[in-house]
Protein backbone atom coordinates (compact mmCIF):
# COMPACT_ATOMS: atom_id res chain seq x y z
CA UNK A 1 0.00 0.00 0.00
CA UNK A 2 2.32 2.71 -1.35
CA UNK A 3 5.10 1.40 0.87
CA UNK A 4 3.40 1.78 4.26
CA UNK A 5 1.54 -0.68 6.44
CA UNK A 6 -2.19 -0.67 7.14
CA UNK A 7 -1.47 -0.23 10.87
CA UNK A 8 0.31 3.08 10.23
CA UNK A 9 -2.69 4.49 8.37
CA UNK A 10 -5.08 3.22 11.08
CA UNK A 11 -2.96 4.98 13.73
CA UNK A 12 -2.84 8.19 11.68
CA UNK A 13 -6.62 8.12 11.24
CA UNK A 14 -7.04 7.56 15.00
CA UNK A 15 -4.79 10.50 15.94
CA UNK A 16 -6.33 13.00 13.54
CA UNK A 17 -9.88 11.73 14.26
CA UNK A 18 -9.37 12.17 18.02
CA UNK A 19 -8.10 15.75 17.69
CA UNK A 20 -10.69 16.53 15.01
CA UNK A 21 -13.63 15.36 17.14
CA UNK A 22 -12.23 17.07 20.24
CA UNK A 23 -11.97 20.50 18.58
CA UNK A 24 -14.73 20.32 15.96
CA UNK A 25 -12.30 20.17 13.05
CA UNK A 26 -12.63 17.48 10.46
CA UNK A 27 -9.00 16.50 10.90
CA UNK A 28 -8.03 17.16 7.28
CA UNK A 29 -5.87 20.07 8.37
CA UNK A 30 -3.54 17.54 10.05
CA UNK A 31 -4.02 14.52 7.80
CA UNK A 32 -3.31 16.09 4.39
CA UNK A 33 0.20 17.42 5.32
CA UNK A 34 1.15 14.18 7.11
CA UNK A 35 0.10 12.05 4.12
CA UNK A 36 1.84 14.29 1.58
CA UNK A 37 4.92 15.67 3.34
CA UNK A 38 5.36 12.83 5.86
CA UNK A 39 4.52 9.77 3.76
CA UNK A 40 5.04 11.12 0.25
CA UNK A 41 1.55 10.37 -1.10
CA UNK A 42 0.36 12.36 -4.13
CA UNK A 43 -1.73 15.38 -3.02
CA UNK A 44 -4.90 14.14 -4.81
CA UNK A 45 -4.73 10.75 -3.05
CA UNK A 46 -4.13 12.50 0.29
CA UNK A 47 -7.07 14.90 -0.16
CA UNK A 48 -9.42 12.08 -1.24
CA UNK A 49 -8.45 9.93 1.79
CA UNK A 50 -8.71 12.95 4.08
CA UNK A 51 -12.23 13.83 2.88
CA UNK A 52 -13.44 10.28 3.58
CA UNK A 53 -11.81 10.41 7.01
CA UNK A 54 -13.54 13.77 7.69
CA UNK A 55 -16.91 12.14 6.89
CA UNK A 56 -16.07 9.28 9.28
CA UNK A 57 -15.06 11.72 12.06
CA UNK A 58 -18.12 13.92 11.49
CA UNK A 59 -20.60 11.01 11.45
CA UNK A 60 -19.15 9.16 14.45
CA UNK A 61 -18.73 12.20 16.71
CA UNK A 62 -22.18 13.51 15.74
CA UNK A 63 -23.78 10.40 17.29
CA UNK A 64 -22.35 11.45 20.68
CA UNK A 65 -23.05 15.18 20.25
CA UNK A 66 -26.64 14.65 19.04
CA UNK A 67 -27.44 12.48 22.07
CA UNK A 68 -26.17 15.28 24.31
CA UNK A 69 -28.22 17.88 22.45
CA UNK A 70 -25.11 19.93 21.62
CA UNK A 71 -25.65 20.20 17.85
CA UNK A 72 -27.39 23.47 16.94
CA UNK A 73 -29.08 22.16 13.81
CA UNK A 74 -30.65 25.41 12.53
CA UNK A 75 -27.45 27.40 12.99
CA UNK A 76 -25.51 24.62 11.28
CA UNK A 77 -27.89 24.64 8.29
CA UNK A 78 -27.68 28.41 7.93
CA UNK A 79 -23.87 28.40 8.03
CA UNK A 80 -23.73 25.49 5.59
CA UNK A 81 -25.42 27.67 2.94
CA UNK A 82 -22.58 30.21 3.24
CA UNK A 83 -20.02 27.38 3.21
CA UNK A 84 -21.44 25.91 0.00
CA UNK A 85 -21.44 29.33 -1.72
CA UNK A 86 -17.86 29.86 -0.46
CA UNK A 87 -16.83 26.51 -1.91
CA UNK A 88 -18.10 27.62 -5.29
CA UNK A 89 -16.45 31.07 -4.95
CA UNK A 90 -13.18 29.39 -3.93
CA UNK A 91 -13.24 27.18 -7.00
CA UNK A 92 -13.95 30.19 -9.25
CA UNK A 93 -11.37 32.56 -7.73
CA UNK A 94 -8.55 30.07 -7.23
CA UNK A 95 -6.93 31.29 -10.45
CA UNK A 96 -6.69 34.86 -9.08
CA UNK A 97 -4.32 33.99 -6.25
CA UNK A 98 -0.93 32.34 -6.43
CA UNK A 99 -0.32 29.37 -4.12
CA UNK A 100 2.15 31.55 -2.19
CA UNK A 101 -0.35 34.38 -1.62
CA UNK A 102 -2.96 31.82 -0.59
CA UNK A 103 -0.73 30.15 2.00
CA UNK A 104 0.52 33.45 3.42
CA UNK A 105 -2.95 35.01 3.76
CA UNK A 106 -4.26 31.82 5.37
CA UNK A 107 -1.27 31.72 7.75
CA UNK A 108 -1.84 35.35 8.75
CA UNK A 109 -5.54 34.68 9.42
CA UNK A 110 -4.75 31.66 11.60
CA UNK A 111 -2.04 33.60 13.47
CA UNK A 112 -4.48 36.40 14.37
CA UNK A 113 -7.17 33.85 15.35
CA UNK A 114 -4.67 32.07 17.59
CA UNK A 115 -3.93 35.30 19.48
CA UNK A 116 -7.64 36.13 19.81
CA UNK A 117 -8.42 32.62 21.14
CA UNK A 118 -5.65 32.89 23.74
CA UNK A 119 -6.79 36.34 24.81
CA UNK A 120 -10.43 35.25 25.16
CA UNK A 121 -9.79 31.78 26.60
CA UNK A 122 -11.23 32.72 30.00
CA UNK A 123 -14.33 34.43 28.64
CA UNK A 124 -17.73 32.70 29.04
CA UNK A 125 -20.27 32.71 26.22
CA UNK A 126 -23.18 31.57 28.37
CA UNK A 127 -25.37 33.32 30.91
CA UNK A 128 -27.45 31.85 33.73
CA UNK A 129 -30.77 30.55 32.35
CA UNK A 130 -33.43 32.87 33.77
CA UNK A 131 -36.14 31.70 31.37
CA UNK A 132 -35.28 34.38 28.80
CA UNK A 133 -35.71 33.66 25.10
CA UNK A 134 -32.40 32.54 23.50
CA UNK A 135 -33.74 33.53 20.06
CA UNK A 136 -34.38 31.26 17.10
CA UNK A 137 -30.71 30.40 16.62
CA UNK A 138 -29.62 30.35 20.27
CA UNK A 139 -30.02 27.50 22.71
CA UNK A 140 -29.70 26.10 26.20
CA UNK A 141 -27.07 23.86 27.74
CA UNK A 142 -26.71 22.23 31.12
CA UNK A 143 -23.37 22.22 32.92
CA UNK A 144 -23.36 20.20 36.14
CA UNK A 145 -26.55 21.17 37.96
CA UNK A 146 -26.90 24.59 36.32
CA UNK A 147 -28.78 25.63 33.18
CA UNK A 148 -27.31 28.25 30.89
CA UNK A 149 -28.42 29.89 27.69
CA UNK A 150 -26.53 31.43 24.80
CA UNK A 151 -27.56 33.79 22.04
CA UNK A 152 -26.02 34.03 18.60
CA UNK A 153 -24.33 37.41 18.10
CA UNK A 154 -22.86 38.97 14.95
CA UNK A 155 -24.61 36.57 12.56
CA UNK A 156 -23.18 38.34 9.46
CA UNK A 157 -19.67 37.64 10.79
CA UNK A 158 -20.58 33.97 11.37
CA UNK A 159 -21.93 33.77 7.81
CA UNK A 160 -18.83 35.55 6.43
CA UNK A 161 -16.45 33.20 8.22
CA UNK A 162 -18.41 30.20 6.90
CA UNK A 163 -18.11 31.64 3.40
CA UNK A 164 -14.33 31.96 3.83
CA UNK A 165 -14.23 28.47 5.37
CA UNK A 166 -16.00 27.12 2.30
CA UNK A 167 -13.57 28.88 -0.03
CA UNK A 168 -10.55 27.59 1.92
CA UNK A 169 -12.14 24.15 1.89
CA UNK A 170 -12.37 24.23 -1.90
CA UNK A 171 -8.88 25.68 -2.39
CA UNK A 172 -6.84 23.69 0.12
CA UNK A 173 -8.92 20.54 0.63
CA UNK A 174 -9.67 21.28 4.28
CA UNK A 175 -12.97 20.99 6.13
CA UNK A 176 -13.08 24.65 7.13
CA UNK A 177 -13.69 23.96 10.85
CA UNK A 178 -10.37 25.58 11.69
CA UNK A 179 -11.91 28.94 10.71
CA UNK A 180 -15.51 28.38 11.79
CA UNK A 181 -15.01 27.11 15.35
CA UNK A 182 -12.69 29.93 16.54
CA UNK A 183 -14.85 32.67 14.98
CA UNK A 184 -18.12 31.24 16.37
CA UNK A 185 -16.59 30.82 19.81
CA UNK A 186 -14.57 34.06 20.04
CA UNK A 187 -16.94 36.54 18.34
CA UNK A 188 -20.43 35.09 17.91
CA UNK A 189 -21.37 34.14 21.48
CA UNK A 190 -21.51 30.39 20.90
CA UNK A 191 -20.04 28.09 23.60
CA UNK A 192 -16.97 26.31 22.19
CA UNK A 193 -18.50 22.85 22.76
CA UNK A 194 -21.66 23.79 20.82
CA UNK A 195 -19.51 25.45 18.11
CA UNK A 196 -17.35 22.30 17.83
CA UNK A 197 -20.36 19.92 17.80
CA UNK A 198 -22.22 22.02 15.19
CA UNK A 199 -19.12 22.46 13.03
CA UNK A 200 -18.28 18.74 13.02
CA UNK A 201 -21.89 17.90 12.18
CA UNK A 202 -21.90 20.13 9.08
CA UNK A 203 -18.34 19.38 7.96
CA UNK A 204 -19.49 15.86 7.04
CA UNK A 205 -21.83 17.36 4.43
CA UNK A 206 -19.16 19.76 3.10
CA UNK A 207 -16.70 16.87 2.76
CA UNK A 208 -19.28 14.58 1.10
CA UNK A 209 -19.89 17.23 -1.59
CA UNK A 210 -16.25 16.98 -2.69
CA UNK A 211 -15.75 13.29 -1.85
CA UNK A 212 -18.15 12.02 -4.54
CA UNK A 213 -16.30 14.00 -7.21
CA UNK A 214 -12.89 12.76 -6.00
CA UNK A 215 -14.24 9.20 -5.97
CA UNK A 216 -15.51 9.43 -9.55
CA UNK A 217 -12.17 10.91 -10.70
CA UNK A 218 -10.43 7.80 -9.36
CA UNK A 219 -8.37 9.73 -6.77
CA UNK A 220 -9.41 7.41 -3.96
CA UNK A 221 -7.00 4.67 -2.89
CA UNK A 222 -9.51 2.32 -1.27
CA UNK A 223 -7.10 0.57 1.09
CA UNK A 224 -5.55 3.79 2.42
CA UNK A 225 -8.95 5.49 2.84
CA UNK A 226 -10.41 2.40 4.54
CA UNK A 227 -7.47 2.09 6.96
CA UNK A 228 -7.57 5.80 7.88
CA UNK A 229 -11.35 5.57 8.45
CA UNK A 230 -11.05 2.47 10.62
CA UNK A 231 -8.77 4.45 12.91
CA UNK A 232 -10.87 7.61 12.76
CA UNK A 233 -14.25 6.00 13.58
CA UNK A 234 -13.57 4.76 17.16
CA UNK A 235 -11.13 7.61 17.93
CA UNK A 236 -13.78 10.20 16.98
CA UNK A 237 -16.28 8.59 19.36
CA UNK A 238 -13.64 8.85 22.08
CA UNK A 239 -12.76 12.45 21.13
CA UNK A 240 -16.41 13.57 21.22
CA UNK A 241 -16.89 11.97 24.68
CA UNK A 242 -13.62 13.44 25.94
CA UNK A 243 -14.57 16.91 24.71
CA UNK A 244 -17.51 16.93 27.15
CA UNK A 245 -15.22 16.25 30.11
CA UNK A 246 -12.51 18.76 29.26
CA UNK A 247 -13.02 22.35 30.46
CA UNK A 248 -14.00 24.91 27.80
CA UNK A 249 -10.94 27.02 28.69
CA UNK A 250 -8.57 24.08 28.05
CA UNK A 251 -10.24 23.44 24.68
CA UNK A 252 -9.76 27.09 23.71
CA UNK A 253 -6.06 27.02 24.64
CA UNK A 254 -5.61 23.76 22.68
CA UNK A 255 -7.40 25.35 19.71
CA UNK A 256 -5.11 28.42 19.92
CA UNK A 257 -2.05 26.14 19.87
CA UNK A 258 -3.38 24.18 16.87
CA UNK A 259 -4.11 27.45 15.01
CA UNK A 260 -0.58 28.67 15.72
CA UNK A 261 1.11 25.43 14.59
CA UNK A 262 -0.99 25.10 11.42
CA UNK A 263 -0.51 28.82 10.66
CA UNK A 264 3.27 28.48 11.07
CA UNK A 265 3.29 25.49 8.73
CA UNK A 266 1.29 27.40 6.11
CA UNK A 267 3.68 30.39 6.41
CA UNK A 268 6.64 28.04 6.02
CA UNK A 269 5.14 26.57 2.84
CA UNK A 270 4.33 30.04 1.51
CA UNK A 271 7.79 31.53 2.08
Amino acid sequence: MLGHSIALYVLLGAGTGLLGALLGLGGGVFLVPILTVGLGLPIRVAIAASLISVIATASASATVNLRRGLVNLRLGLLLEVATSVGGLAGALTSALLTQRQLFLSFAATLGVMSLVMMQRAGRRNVIQDDGADPGRLGGRIREGERDYLYRVKRLPLAMGSSLVAGAISGLLGLGGGIIKVPVLSAFCGIPIKVAAATSTFMIGVTAATSAFINYSRGDLNQQIAAAVCLGALPASLLGARLSQRVEARALKVLMALVLFVVGARMAFEGL
Binding site: I6, S59, T63, L77, R142, K193, V205, F212, Q222, C229
Partner: protein, 90 residues
Protein backbone atom coordinates in the same frame (compact mmCIF):
# COMPACT_ATOMS: atom_id res chain seq x y z
CA UNK B 1 -22.17 19.84 29.41
CA UNK B 2 -25.32 18.87 27.57
CA UNK B 3 -28.41 20.35 25.95
CA UNK B 4 -31.86 18.97 25.32
CA UNK B 5 -31.88 16.37 22.52
CA UNK B 6 -35.00 16.64 20.34
CA UNK B 7 -36.83 13.77 18.64
CA UNK B 8 -35.07 14.70 15.40
CA UNK B 9 -31.68 14.60 17.20
CA UNK B 10 -32.48 11.03 18.34
CA UNK B 11 -33.57 9.95 14.84
CA UNK B 12 -30.42 11.45 13.30
CA UNK B 13 -28.29 9.74 15.94
CA UNK B 14 -29.88 6.38 15.04
CA UNK B 15 -29.34 6.98 11.30
CA UNK B 16 -25.69 7.97 11.74
CA UNK B 17 -25.01 5.05 14.09
CA UNK B 18 -26.42 2.67 11.47
CA UNK B 19 -24.32 4.25 8.70
CA UNK B 20 -21.13 4.20 10.76
CA UNK B 21 -21.63 0.60 11.97
CA UNK B 22 -22.44 -0.78 8.52
CA UNK B 23 -19.60 1.02 6.75
CA UNK B 24 -17.11 0.27 9.56
CA UNK B 25 -17.97 -3.44 9.37
CA UNK B 26 -17.57 -3.50 5.56
CA UNK B 27 -14.23 -1.63 5.77
CA UNK B 28 -12.83 -3.88 8.53
CA UNK B 29 -13.87 -7.09 6.70
CA UNK B 30 -12.64 -5.67 3.38
CA UNK B 31 -9.18 -4.93 4.78
CA UNK B 32 -8.98 -8.22 6.69
CA UNK B 33 -9.97 -10.37 3.71
CA UNK B 34 -8.34 -8.11 1.12
CA UNK B 35 -11.72 -7.80 -0.62
CA UNK B 36 -11.98 -4.71 -2.92
CA UNK B 37 -15.78 -5.08 -3.31
CA UNK B 38 -16.32 -4.83 0.46
CA UNK B 39 -13.96 -1.84 0.66
CA UNK B 40 -15.90 -0.10 -2.11
CA UNK B 41 -19.25 -0.72 -0.39
CA UNK B 42 -17.87 0.46 2.96
CA UNK B 43 -16.58 3.72 1.46
CA UNK B 44 -19.77 4.34 -0.53
CA UNK B 45 -21.93 3.69 2.55
CA UNK B 46 -19.85 6.20 4.49
CA UNK B 47 -20.14 8.81 1.72
CA UNK B 48 -23.92 8.37 1.43
CA UNK B 49 -24.45 8.71 5.20
CA UNK B 50 -24.33 12.58 5.21
CA UNK B 51 -26.69 12.61 2.20
CA UNK B 52 -29.21 10.44 4.08
CA UNK B 53 -28.81 12.76 7.07
CA UNK B 54 -29.63 15.89 5.03
CA UNK B 55 -32.64 14.07 3.51
CA UNK B 56 -33.93 13.23 7.01
CA UNK B 57 -33.44 16.82 8.26
CA UNK B 58 -35.21 18.23 5.19
CA UNK B 59 -38.16 15.85 5.59
CA UNK B 60 -38.44 16.69 9.31
CA UNK B 61 -38.38 20.45 8.68
CA UNK B 62 -41.05 20.11 5.98
CA UNK B 63 -43.13 18.01 8.38
CA UNK B 64 -42.76 20.72 11.05
CA UNK B 65 -43.80 23.32 8.44
CA UNK B 66 -40.64 25.30 9.21
CA UNK B 67 -40.58 26.63 5.66
CA UNK B 68 -37.56 28.96 6.00
CA UNK B 69 -35.21 26.27 7.31
CA UNK B 70 -36.75 23.62 5.05
CA UNK B 71 -35.81 25.87 2.10
CA UNK B 72 -32.25 26.19 3.49
CA UNK B 73 -32.03 22.41 3.87
CA UNK B 74 -33.35 21.94 0.32
CA UNK B 75 -30.60 24.29 -0.93
CA UNK B 76 -27.95 22.10 0.75
CA UNK B 77 -29.60 19.01 -0.72
CA UNK B 78 -29.45 20.73 -4.12
CA UNK B 79 -25.70 21.37 -3.73
CA UNK B 80 -25.19 17.70 -2.81
CA UNK B 81 -27.33 16.62 -5.78
CA UNK B 82 -25.19 18.83 -8.05
CA UNK B 83 -22.04 17.14 -6.77
CA UNK B 84 -23.60 13.67 -7.22
CA UNK B 85 -24.60 14.63 -10.76
CA UNK B 86 -21.08 15.85 -11.65
CA UNK B 87 -19.68 12.62 -10.16
CA UNK B 88 -22.08 10.56 -12.30
CA UNK B 89 -24.12 9.11 -9.41
CA UNK B 90 -27.33 10.90 -10.47
Amino acid sequence: VKGAASGLDRALEALLTLGVLLSGTCLALGLWRDNPALLKWGLLLLMWTPVARVLMVTAALLWERDWAFAAISLWILGVLAGSLHVAGFL
